[in-house]
């Protein structure tokens, strides 16, 4: 099923010419209305008229998260505040949040793209959408909410937390579609099991999961434990919120990003060179229809690759590969690049081990240390010390084989790892303490 046939199946040439026209308009608009862009363009000697073909986008400057912080709160807005109908913000781990503003048309676009995303994930009118993304400054809750209403589904605005109540509502209201983070979906399954509820027997059929990177193995685990199809959704508040991209339920192989609203590039995060199609690097997005806060070549810090091969679902929009992590999640341990998702995939391959882990990074003298904390469950537990020691050396060896990094594996009690009812905190990097 396709929500908007006209746009979702546009031929490539039509997408390209639409993108060029919209890019030119965006560049003209930010040059005229956003001092930050006008100054940067002037410094680089660029005029809006220099954008004659799509490739000319490479002449434009990048926008960093730091630029948004430097212009806190409204500095990058391209319209006066009275045209802004909604303000969201993403929590910064340090200091001020990143603020985004939406005009009425921006909300309309977001709603349309979330509607496309829901339908691509297999949801439709008649579904009961259990929206467990947080409502508030975070874009997840309201973004999913508007899209769910647009397709005519019945949306339950659950927001996050209060897991036992979520399960009660899920049972009593007959929720068919779950929207939340992947780690929270597993937490729901766990609490359901503790409560003696067979979550697989409920009416739930699809989970639309995002807001944190997750692996293919974790998908299999979620699908088995909840008895649903688990669909990956992509979004970031700087660009729009959830619904920038989504996997189609037909292929479950890469996330379609709505190219009539966004231009995608993949760059080498170190050299900032644009990479050829198919190579892995940092995703850069230019918004080409946004009014409130248009962003030119925004560096998402998400690592992925682009695929423009035709998809079996009929959509013509490019797909990005499931994210392998954020470039700022990437840890450099003794000179080796390590993504938490790689450690996760190792753990999934060990019989009985659950994906509950935390990475503790520190520095002893001049040497980085990595400790992988893994929860012991009843499947991996043994009354014999040597068997538990064999388990931790097996984990250690497989991490060493895959990543070339020697780590310490510490077995820990269940639920001792921070199990926030939203995003799982996977990494504690003590090297950063006192650095900034």
């Amino acid at each position: 099923m396709i929500w908007n046939d006209d746009f979702e199946t546009l031929p490539r040439e039509a997408i390209d010419s639409l993108q060029l026209r919209r890019l030119q308009q965006t560049v003209e608009r930010v040059y005229a209305t956003v001092p930050f862009y006008r100054d940067t363009f002037n410094k680089m000697g660029i005029r809006p008229a220099d954008i004659k073909q799509l490739k000319d986008i490479q002449k434009l400057p990048f926008t960093l998260k730091k630029d948004m912080r430097d212009n806190y709160p409204y500095g990058l807005f391209a319209v006066p505040l009275e045209q802004i109908v909604r303000i969201h913000a993403s929590s910064g781990t340090t200091g001020k949040p990143t603020v985004v503003g939406y005009t009425r048309r921006d909300i309309e676009t977001w709603t349309e793209l979330m509607a496309r995303s829901f339908v691509a994930a297999g949801a439709h009118k008649g579904d009961v959408i259990h929206n467990a993304y947080g409502y508030g400054l975070f874009t997840g809750g309201l973004g999913a909410h508007y899209g769910a209403e647009r397709i005519g589904a019945s949306v339950i605005p659950m927001s996050g937390g209060n897991t036992k109540k979520q399960l009660m509502i899920m049972q009593d209201f007959g929720s068919t579609v779950l929207t939340c983070t992947p780690s929270y979906s597993l937490f729901l399954a766990e609490v359901a099991a503790e409560e003696g509820i067979d979550i697989r027997k409920l009416r739930l059929k699809v989970g639309i999961l995002g807001a944190e990177p997750w692996s293919e193995k974790m998908r299999q685990e979620i699908e088995a434990k909840l008895g649903i199809k688990a669909i990956d959704i992509y979004g970031l508040s700087e660009i729009m919120g959830p619904g920038v991209g989504i996997e189609c339920i037909e292929a479950q192989n890469g996330l379609h990003v709505w190219e009539d609203h966004f231009i995608l590039e993949i760059i080498d995060p170190d050299t900032c060179e644009v990479l050829p199609e198919g190579e892995k690097g940092e995703l850069v997005i230019t918004t080409i229809t946004k009014e409130g806060i248009p962003l030119i070549r925004y560096r998402t810090r998400d690592i992925t690759r682009l695929n423009r091969q035709p998809c079996i679902c009929g959509r013509t929009h490019a797909r990005i590969e499931r994210l392998s992590g954020r470039s700022d999640d990437m840890l450099i341990i003794r000179g080796v690049n390590v993504f938490p998702s790689q450690i996760e995939s190792v753990l999934f391959n060990i019989e009985g081990v659950e994906p509950h882990y935390q990475l503790l990074v520190d520095r002893e003298g001049n040497l980085d240390t990595l400790e992988v904390q893994v929860e012991v469950n009843e499947q991996t537990f043994s009354d014999e010390i040597k068997k538990l020691q064999a388990l931790s050396s097996a984990i250690q060896k497989q991490i060493k084989d895959l990543l070339g990094v020697t780590c310490k594996v510490r077995l820990v009690e269940p639920k001792t790892l921070t199990r926030s009812e939203g995003k799982a905190q996977r990494v504690i990097d003590n090297r950063k303490k006192g650095a900034s």
Partner: protein, 143 residues
């Protein structure tokens, strides 16, 4: 013959042992024997209690990772060489002892040692053949 032992995974944090015995005490479960095996990071607390099902349930409710294992309790004559004669029998019959620990209470004048074997049935038949007294599970948990 066999006795049910429960094992609990605990991190080496102070207070965890007290917490376990507190939880069991509150549930009215009595600990009959206890042994802690530990490494620098974690420990395994092995217990023999008078009601293992209840103990397992309350510990799970408190999010401990637990398991059940079958062990046996052997009467060891309270005299020099009492234990070594039993170990010798086991060794001669190639019975591998995973671990063992002493029971707090005594059975008459004899000490009681808890044994964990790889192959508990084979161990029982070897011990019985050699006239070693194995205490009934019921008797152990109610000593």
């Amino acid at each position: 013959m066999k006795v049910e032992q429960i094992s609990i995974f605990i991190e080496n944090k102070s207070g965890r042992l007290a917490e376990v015995s507190g939880i069991l005490g509150e549930a009215g479960v009595n600990i009959r024997a206890l042994s802690l095996a530990d490494t620098s990071d974690f420990g395994i607390l092995r217990l023999i209690v008078d009601d293992s099902e209840k103990a397992l349930q309350v510990l799970r409710d408190h999010h401990f990772t637990v398991s059940k294992t079958e062990v046996i309790g052997v009467e060891v004559p309270d005299q020099p060489g009492g234990l070594s004669s039993i170990l010798k029998i086991l060794d001669q019959n190639q019975i591998n002892v995973e671990y063992m620990y002493a029971f707090v209470e005594r059975s008459g004048s004899n000490a009681v040692i808890i044994f964990r074997f790889d192959d508990v049935d084979q161990a029982i038949s070897v011990l019985l053949k050699n006239h070693v007294t194995i205490l009934a599970g019921k008797k152990i948990t109610s000593i």
